[in-house]
Subunit: 96 residues, 2 copies
């Protein structure tokens, strides 16, 4: 293996450590987020509100695209990730 | 609308503000994460490494499940969200 290849693999390992640190932060925030959405689900059930709220979701998705653009993140990528988060939450609310 | 219903709607609005704050944090971290994965993609391309790395992915998914459990988050939920993140990243690497 060449020196350049060695350097590349070291840099790759370094980048991956950085990604792992961010993933731990993401998990921490997701944990807090699912805590709040579980409370939302409970509240909706107690007050016979529908588990899904298309107006709120549309508002969230628009805000996410806006925040993503501000963070230099492709809005479509951000929306795809949040689609997975929101779908998981809605599924959970239906199961409550 | 009853008082209880009013109180519930106020609480719902409060919970949603909390969710919006966490979403802004998630977007910020996702922005940093996609910055690092874009660098990984560039490095892989320059050194003719394959865009997808099943061993690394399996390791990430196992770690995510472990971190999720530690954060009181359902590991399956966390993995579903990260599946979306990783798939988006892999798609991007292939397009680079």
């Amino acid at each position: 293996m060449s020196d350049t290849q060695d350097t590349a693999l070291l840099r790759l390992a370094e980048l991956r450590r950085g990604i792992d640190v961010l993933d731990a932060q993401l998990i921490g925030i997701l944990g807090q987020r699912f805590g709040l959405t579980a409370e939302v689900g409970k509240l909706k059930k107690e007050h016979s509100l529908p588990p899904q709220d298309p107006a709120r979701e549309a508002q969230q998705m628009a805000r996410i695209a806006e925040l993503a653009t501000g963070a230099g993140l492709d809005p479509a990528l951000a929306q795809r990730v949040f689609r997975a988060i929101i779908d998981t939450v809605v599924q959970n609310h239906k199961q409550v």
